[in-house]
């Protein structure tokens, strides 16, 4: 499998298209398609594989030389057993442990994890590029040289790792990054701050610290009256959800700014900025997670907020009034355009008796603004739904057309004065990574075009071959990340703790519970 482009971003005035293939970023000139620059996110040592080495930033994407090697246990002779004082479960069969970890992350033979790019965003003026990566939980800021002096195109100004993986970030006023993590906390970081190059001192192994010193330190920590985020850079806590934070959208109207956040527990929260201690309202109406938020700028009053995620509908909010303006069902359109998505799977046909389960399959993977309308992407489907207002009904959105793509939709970038769209797709057979579309204002529909930029992107993006045994991992971790946010409860399961932060957190909780019992 050739790795598709999971993220694509366009910036008009600087004439740039940015694409992300796994951990590699490409910069193109939008008008000509010229490839200007590339950058590759460094691999991250797998914390659970002893002595794993990150690979230098300059090397291209990791490619395990053979599947055999990728599956074999840790390199021979290297792993020293973990420190004697560590918890028992860590001493569990090392080999088994490694195998388990391999099965959840794309690792190379040295145990480095592939650090895929999660989001690309430019400042309004196009001079700064902010990139979030998955495995090192970092936010990187690049200086983009625009205009004539295009020598070094990207200069990495800072790398700031958050305590938890970045769920989403937004850029505010060209000087502040709002970064939300998987724990639900949102921090404000100054955009232009160079990260300090002082490396963190390696922690002394637990076992080497005398027991009394350890206990004294722990007792001291317990007395703390503030949360220690241990972030070695300027940051301000902005707001916190007790849920995975999935989307941040700042909306500025006149002198006022609001921050709208969406989380995995169906909430949309509207908070003041910079007085972020004042929550203005909650917009409650979703039954599934909220992973996409959009405030269409063609509504000059910015009075609409469109939200979507784990539901088979999108909601158009009159957000200032806290009211639902429109609830637009998607099922009919999806069924008409791509019935395979909601069709019952043959193997478990007897079980799919109830209606509700079918609707579960529709998940919105993104909302994108186009002039006078919005595009709605459906995860795991090769379609884009195009909603617009009409002159007769300027205050309602209606489905205008469905765009059929050569592969499952991954991301969309809209650019140009006569609107064009570059859509990245997962098209295994056709080997096409992006398709280009142009709005035909006469026919009022989007037509497929083959232009310089799509040709160049398809031709010049580094082709990353994903090993066979990594297909599923890449698909679930990088390409199709939205549907996995759904809460699942097995039949008959009731109070069993299920920690969305994953199995490790669950085990940790279990351990804590046992500790508490002993105490």
């Amino acid at each position: 499998m050739i790795h598709p482009i999971q993220r694509i971003h366009a910036h008009d005035s600087s004439d740039r298209i940015y694409t992300a293939t796994s951990n590699t970023l490409h910069v193109f000139r939008a008008s000509t398609g010229e490839l200007l620059s590339t950058w590759t996110a460094p691999l991250v040592p797998n914390p659970n594989v002893p002595n794993s080495q990150p690979v230098a930033a300059s090397t291209p994407a990791p490619e395990p030389t053979s599947t055999d090697q990728a599956q074999s246990p840790a390199p021979p002779g290297s792993p020293a057993p973990p420190a004697a004082g560590s918890k028992k479960r860590k001493l569990a069969d090392q080999q088994g442990e490694n195998k388990k970890l391999r099965s959840s992350k794309w690792t190379n033979t040295q145990g480095g994890c592939n650090n895929a790019i999660a989001k690309i965003q430019t400042t309004e003026d196009g001079r700064w590029l902010v990139v979030a990566t998955m495995e090192d939980k970092a936010i990187r800021v690049f200086k983009v040289s625009v205009g004539e002096e295009e020598g070094g195109l990207l200069e990495c100004l800072s790398t700031r790792a958050l305590p938890k993986r970045v769920g989403d970030f937004a850029i505010l006023n060209t000087d502040t990054i709002l970064a939300g993590d998987k724990h639900g906390d949102v921090f404000a970081l100054p955009l232009q701050e160079r990260s300090s190059s002082i490396p963190k001192p390696a922690p002394t192994p637990h076992a080497l610290i005398p027991a009394d010193v350890r206990e004294a330190a722990a007792a001291e920590k317990r007395k703390r009256t503030e949360i220690d985020y241990a972030l070695p850079f300027t940051h301000r806590f902005v707001l916190g959800h007790v849920s995975m934070l999935l989307r941040i959208l700042p909306i500025a109207i006149g002198k006022k700014t609001w921050i709208v956040t969406g989380d995995r527990d169906e909430h949309i929260r509207v908070t003041r900025w910079p007085q972020s201690f004042v929550i203005e309202s909650f917009l409650l109406g979703h039954e599934g997670f909220v992973s996409s938020l959009l405030c269409p700028s063609w509504r000059t009053e910015k009075d609409w907020l469109v939200s979507a995620g784990g539901d088979d509908y999108i909601i158009v909010w009159k957000w200032r009034e806290g009211k639902i303006g429109q609830k637009l069902p998607l099922k009919e359109a999806v069924d008409a355009a791509y019935p395979a998505l909601t069709a019952p799977e043959t193997e478990d046909a007897p079980e799919t008796g109830d209606e509700g389960k079918q609707n579960d399959k529709i998940v919105v993977n993104g909302l994108w603004e186009v002039p006078g309308g919005i595009m709605v992407g459906i995860e795991h489907a090769p379609i884009l739904l195009f909603f617009t207002t009409t002159p007769e009904n300027p205050d309602t959105l209606t489905l205008t057309s469905t765009i059929n793509l050569p592969g499952n939709i991954l991301d969309v970038a809209v650019f140009g004065s006569e609107p064009r769209m570059l859509v990245s797709v997962d098209a295994a057979e056709s080997k096409e990574l992006v398709t280009a579309w142009k709005f035909d204002s006469g026919a009022k529909e989007w037509v497929s075009v083959e232009d310089d930029i799509s040709k160049k992107v398809n031709g010049e993006v580094t082709k990353v071959e994903v090993p066979d045994d990594m297909h599923d991992i890449v698909k679930s971790n990088v390409l199709y990340t939205v549907a996995t946010l759904r809460k699942t409860f097995r039949e008959g399961e009731d109070t069993r703790n299920r920690d969305p932060r994953g199995k490790e957190a669950e085990e940790e909780q279990q351990q804590e519970g046992e500790d508490a019992m002993k105490e």
Binding site: V242, Q275, V278, R498
Partner: protein, 292 residues
């Protein structure tokens, strides 16, 4: 015969009363709706729950969809035959819930406060299912005792109720902006370890959420026997621009503080053990003017 006599004494911490023998289940089925107060030992549950988990909870999608009719039936007009259940729910509640006890445990505070503030609707919230079940049964029993003329204090307990829920996640689903007059945090889980401090019920992020739920002038009450936790809660609410710490003079004679000190289950336990109780209360300020 009550099943208590037939139940062997709990042997280990891991096996609560009747948990393994099935007596627990049996007791609860037999006594459901009984006029006698339920016995706590059949409902005990480990004192910690992970607030970050997806507990299989039921909660309304928004406060407008909250069905209060099962909680406070006496505060609804009698249902017309033409009405559907949905029509009959939340919109017709004659009063709003104004007091919430977050982590109400076995319900000591609301049961004690109910008769003292008979015209105020109050709701206990508890994340542990079995403990919530106990409080439900306790309230049903108290209501029945009144109906059958066995009440000790002549209060009908129609103004108190309990709900299972995760207050750290779903308060805005249940209450409108500025709906509450009082909120209680009594003897919350201390989460001693620094690593677990984020799970504490008071945090900078949650304080903003509580400020959203509580109306200006409303009060947040906190009490704990753990000094470190007290310092933590006090610090975070003092630092929050929407709360003012109340002075001892302001709190003098406040029936809620007395009840919180003396009538909560934990409060009684701490008294028995001669422990300290730390109280801190905060008044919700008005929202400030917008600043640019």
């Amino acid at each position: 015969m009550t099943s208590t006599s037939a139940c062997p004494a709990p042997s280990t911490a891991g096996a609560p009363a009747g948990g393994r023998t099935g007596k627990r289940k049996e007791y609860r089925i037999v006594r459901k709706g009984d006029v006698k107060l339920p016995k706590k030992k059949f409902y005990r549950q480990r004192a910690h729950a992970n607030p970050f988990s997806d507990h299989n909870l039921e909660y309304p999608h928004s406060p407008d969809q909250m069905d209060w009719s099962t909680h406070f039936p006496a505060f609804f007009p009698p249902r017309n035959e033409s009405e559907t259940t949905a029509e009959h729910s939340s919109t017709q509640l004659q009063k709003q819930v104004e007091i919430a006890d977050i982590g109400c445990g076995f319900g000591g505070l609301i049961v004690s406060l109910g008769p003292k503030l008979p015209d105020t609707l109050m709701l206990g919230m508890e994340i542990r299912q079995q403990v919530t079940e106990y409080v439900e049964e306790r309230i049903i029993a108290l209501r029945r005792q009144y109906e059958e003329g066995e009440s000790e204090n002549g209060h009908n307990y129609q103004n108190i109720s309990v709900i299972r829920g995760n207050a750290m996640k779903f308060l805005p689903n249940m209450f409108h902006k500025g709906q509450l007059r009082k909120m209680f945090f009594c003897f919350p889980d201390p989460h001693f370890k620094a690593r677990k401090h984020k799970a504490r019920i008071i945090s900078p992020g949650l304080a903003s959420e509580y400020a959203y739920i509580v109306k200006p002038g409303g009060i947040i009450y906190t009490i704990t026997d753990v000094e470190d936790l007290h310092n933590w809660m006090a610090r975070h609410l003092e630092d929050h621009p929407l709360f003012d710490r109340m002075t001892p003079e302001e709190l003098e004679g406040d029936v809620c503080v007395e009840t919180m000190m003396g009538d909560t289950e934990e409060g009684k336990k701490v008294t028995r053990n001669n422990g300290n109780k730390f109280v801190a209360c905060f008044r919700r300020r008005e929202d400030p003017e917008w600043s640019d």
